[in-house]
């Protein structure tokens, strides 16, 4: 076994759900600095201040032989002043734990430059939200839920581009913070996550992500999420990401835009 050895940025950063990816979209890349000959991992902390809310995510991931990824993340969604207006109490927070696994099925996003085959992975995320009573009160069906996804990621080196697409089967309301399924829809739907980035230097990736989400709850319309990001490999073991994010309307409060700031240590 040998530690480390992956090319810069090719483990991706950590999503708010803990998986290797962008900030919002899960990618097919396996977290950590390891190659097929070793074990690696990541630790991340992410802060997403929005107009009326804030979200934090902390987590860890382990990459085994650049093949299997196991991840855990804890999210805390702070309703700040809006909590009082929504009748929850000022500073009321929704939290969830997310346990994930991802398996690379085929392809190597970086090496396969002589074919169009992307790196392909399947993943699963088990979410456990903490506010059962509120979730049921607003029309949510479950406080726990499982997402399944299929991700394809391709680095087009000749064009210095990174492209990704993910299909996710999910019932999650606001990433699962507001539970799973609801009074409007209570079935799995296929949602899409798309990413595109430009490798400006070998340390700097500029790009954007777009993620559709289900709209299961009657009391509030749920919007897509998007971001524009800059991810910078400060060192081989530290990646810093800053992004503009737009999460749309959340729980009837309009236009939740803000920043996504993330630090990831990787080994």
């Amino acid at each position: 076994m040998r530690a480390g050895g992956k090319l810069l940025l090719t483990g991706g950063i950590s999503t708010v759900e803990g998986s290797g990816g962008g900030g919002l979209a899960s990618w097919a890349l396996i977290a950590g600095n390891e190659t097929v000959d070793g074990i690696g991992g990541t630790v991340h902390a992410t802060y997403v201040p929005l107009a009326d809310y804030s979200l934090t995510s902390e987590g860890v991931a382990i990459g085994i032989r650049d093949r299997l990824e196991l991840s855990y993340a804890h999210q805390r969604f702070d309703t700040q002043k809006v909590g009082a207006a929504l009748g929850l109490g000022r500073g009321f927070s929704f939290q969830q734990d997310i346990i994930g696994a991802k398996l690379r099925l085929a392809g190597d996003a970086v090496i396969d430059q002589d074919s169009l085959l992307p790196q392909i992975a399947i993943g699963v995320q088990y979410h456990i939200a903490d506010r059962d009573a509120v979730i049921h009160a607003i029309g949510g069906a479950h406080a726990k839920g499982t997402d399944f996804y299929l991700a394809a990621t391709k680095v087009l080196l000749a064009q210095s581009l990174v492209l990704g697409g993910t299909v996710r089967l999910t019932k999650a309301n606001q990433f699962g913070l507001l539970g799973f399924g609801g009074d409007a829809h209570n079935h799995y739907s296929a949602q899409f996550e798309g990413s595109a980035g430009l490798l400006v230097t070998r340390r700097l990736l500029l790009g954007g992500e777009y993620r559709t989400k289900p709209d299961n709850l009657r009391f509030a319309r749920e919007d897509r999420a998007l971001d524009l990001f800059a991810a910078y490999a400060v060192t081989r073991n530290l990646t810093a990401t800053a992004a503009y994010v737009d999460l749309g309307d959340i729980a009837t409060i309009r236009h939740q835009r803000g920043a996504l700031l993330s630090l990831q240590a990787n080994f």
């Binding site: 040998r2 050895g5 090319l7 190659t35 000959d37 090496i111 396969d112 430059q113 490798l199 070998r202």
Partner: protein
């Protein structure tokens, strides 16, 4: 018959100065492991032959003292490595050179190279290209040609 042709070819090809003799093989541009890029823009972006010479010399000088991979180069013919790498890069970048080296699998056979070693060499090459002030976009076009060679270079 093929052995005879190879033997004649080897006899007809003198060993370049400073290099050690190698077992006979059929020289062909296809041995370079990829096809050249179209046009000459990339060749210019690499500052043509003087630029490629500086990059390869810088790459090899870095690699043979790089603690991650120096061991692999012990006992190898570094003079020949510099020459064939310069030919290979010139050929792939559209510089019009012929490649006279062996194919990728043969030239890396039994070196015990793992993915981490391959990536370390890419790292050294990126530093060498940056030192030559080749733009990251032009660097990546060469890396796109070299990346699939990992499948022939790395031993499972």
């Amino acid at each position: 018959m093929l052995a005879l042709i190879l033997a004649l070819a080897a006899a007809a090809t003198p060993v370049p100065p400073g290099e050690q003799p190698v077992d006979p093989y059929a020289a062909a541009d296809a041995n370079a492991g990829a096809t050249p890029v179209a046009g000459q823009r990339l060749w210019h972006a690499f500052h043509e032959q003087p630029g490629v010479d500086r990059i390869v010399d810088s790459l090899v000088s870095r690699a043979i003292v790089d603690p991650r991979i120096a061991e692999i180069f012990k006992g190898q013919d570094i003079v020949r490595l510099r020459r064939t790498l310069k030919e290979q890069f010139c050929y792939l970048l559209g510089g019009g050179c012929r490649y006279s080296g062996r194919e990728m699998a043969a030239s890396h056979h039994n070196l015990g190279i793992q993915t981490k070693d391959f990536n370390a060499l890419v790292d050294d090459l990126q530093q060498a290209m940056s030192r030559e002030r080749v733009s990251p976009f032009a660097q990546n076009r060469l890396l796109a040609k070299l990346a699939p060679m990992k499948r022939s270079v790395v031993e499972r």
